[in-house]
Amino acid sequence: TTRSWDFMGLTQQVNRTALESDIIIGVLDTGISPESDSFRDQGLSPIPKKWKGSCQSSSNFTCNKKIIGAQYFRSAGFLDINDVKSPRDEQGHGTHVASIAAGGYVSNANLTGLANGTARGGVPSARIAVYKVCWSDGCNDVDILAAFDEAIADGVDIISISVGGAATDYFQDSIAIGSFHAMKNRILTSASAGNSGNEPGRVTNVSPWILSVAASTYDRKFLTKVQLGNGLNYEGVSVNTFTSKKGKYPLVYGGDVPNVMAGFSKFDSRYCRKNSLDSKLVKGKIVLCDELSNGESVFLSSAAGTIMRDAENRDNTKPFPLPATFLGVDDGDKAFKYIRSTRNPTATIFKSVEAVEKRTPYVASFSSRGPNSITPEILKPDITAPGVGILAAWSPAAPLSGINGDNRRVLYNIKSGTSMSCPHATAVAAYIKSFFPSWSPAAIKSALMTTAFPLNSTTNPDGEFAYGAGHIDPIKALNPGLVYDADEIDYVTFLCAQGYNTTTLRSVTGDNSTCKKTTGASGDLNLPSFAIPTAPLQTFSHNFTRRVTNVGSPVSKYSVKITAPPSLKIRIEPSILSFTSIGQKLTFKVQIAGQIDRAKVSASFVWDDGKHKVRSPIVVYDSS
């Protein structure tokens, strides 16, 4: 990416360790475009000795010292004609994701001049191992599990998976199962939290051993101006690479041009849904649609462009297969009224321009929100990172907009999604691991979470359910002071509390673990965050035990600072933790009591030694 790493303070000059080039990131996605400049291997040392994986090379696919492994997985179902049996990326997504995490330095990267700069991944000298599990029809559980099975055995350090479905029981979920066994092998899995928007409880990849990443803005945005025939201009959102050749085009409202012959009425065509527009009436015209879409149906109807209006998604910055811009409700209404006010309405859609996003960071409207539908006592998502308008490498085999028939081919593309935020978090995790190779997945996850900063409540009304612990801070995460560590036995205790029996868990762990009596539904899992479902106006009191490990100064004294609204009483005992050595573990008790009179109440506590601030978010919410 050309800007997001600088936005987060991970500049080109940042301190790096030579061990970064030993870090192997396993990317489970649509494959990779090996010719991309982002994956050149000049200057890289030989492949790390620990690597045990392989490369499915062929006449059109080879690995190098950057892409050190590549395999494809397809066990079930027929392949589409557009899919090739190779790790090669035909869709662009895997190339984009891999380059965000570990792409090398590429100067003058841009999309038709947009977002120009030096593109780089978060860990530019780390290696990439590609596991192609996603095809044009999606990503099968069967193949995802096969990729986890291989990646863990191959010796990857971090797994990045920008994929998901609806949240489901942990042992019926391929990503939860795969990441559990990754955790057992000291490999952290970073996963996208989903793009299901701001309906509560839609977050995916919710197991406690995984890092679930929400998507937020950074300080750059892309605006696409539309000028109506009356001379009024409106700034919309999209990534529009088209330069208007004719200037003004006739403007029509989708609801006025239904494809009656095919049985569609204005109630379908106003949303410009598939086949609903009469192509004879829209050919060469700009169509105003009442919904944000990918633009495919308007494109296929031979329209010259589209203006979309809707209540949400003003941050869903993405390219479309034809000139397009997205207006909010107010400006969209003005465009509609203009159409109704004149006999020959016209409009011009201009090429996108860059602008500074002044309200940043805020969580994208499309990013899936908590609470966690599988374990309501575990806060999800865990964290947020940039995922709006991200420029990164692209596969020239894939259309710029991802829509078939769009003949534009580019080497760098701008996309939005939790798919884009996930590899940002993956890279920061890899960055930490390059300094502290012995840290467990839970310790790395804790470092990311306790050093994250909460976002402005005005621009982020969903609070922790939108951003988890907060926005990722790579520099602070490198020096967290204390970490909330956990290992397999802690997660087994958690699973016992979730109701799994000893027989099941013995199979999962391969040992003689037994379920012991536990506290609460989360089994007092040693996480740095707290989620408490409750009923409104009902008094509650919960006790937790937490254990922190000193990774900061050998001799240090931390005192706790609590931030809570009057309706919550939070007690922490002891309130001072005195450490005398690195690696020392101390426990403390947390009592959270009170009642809530609204949907959600936020609080937090911070362990502070004067050098480190170790923050834990608390959210108490109405689960009814």
Partner: protein, 86 residues
């Protein structure tokens, strides 16, 4: 079908990897399946997970799935889903 004999892809998850070589693990999976579905086991088995955890993917009917789920060592049997990139 209404007879419940439509074959779907299921994942049979069995936890930690077996402490045997990979070929033996696949053979064990085939044997397990053979015990439930007989000679169709070889064509039914789609993939053996054997390196980092234990399990397999197979084409099964609903009724066969229930029988597999009762086998010793099986943690879960669940239908293959198609997930999406985000």
């Amino acid at each position: 079908s209404h007879h419940g004999n439509t074959h779907k892809t299921y994942i049979v998850y069995m936890g930690d990897p077996l402490k045997v070589d990979h070929a033996s693990a696949s053979s064990l999976h085939r044997t397990m399946l053979h015990g439930v579905i007989g000679s169709k086991a070889s064509t039914s088995l789609l993939y053996s997970y054997r390196k980092s955890f234990n399990g397999f993917a197979a084409k099964l009917t609903e009724e066969e799935k229930h029988r597999v789920a009762k086998l010793e060592g099986v943690v879960s049997v669940f239908p293959n889903r198609k997930l999406q990139v985000h």
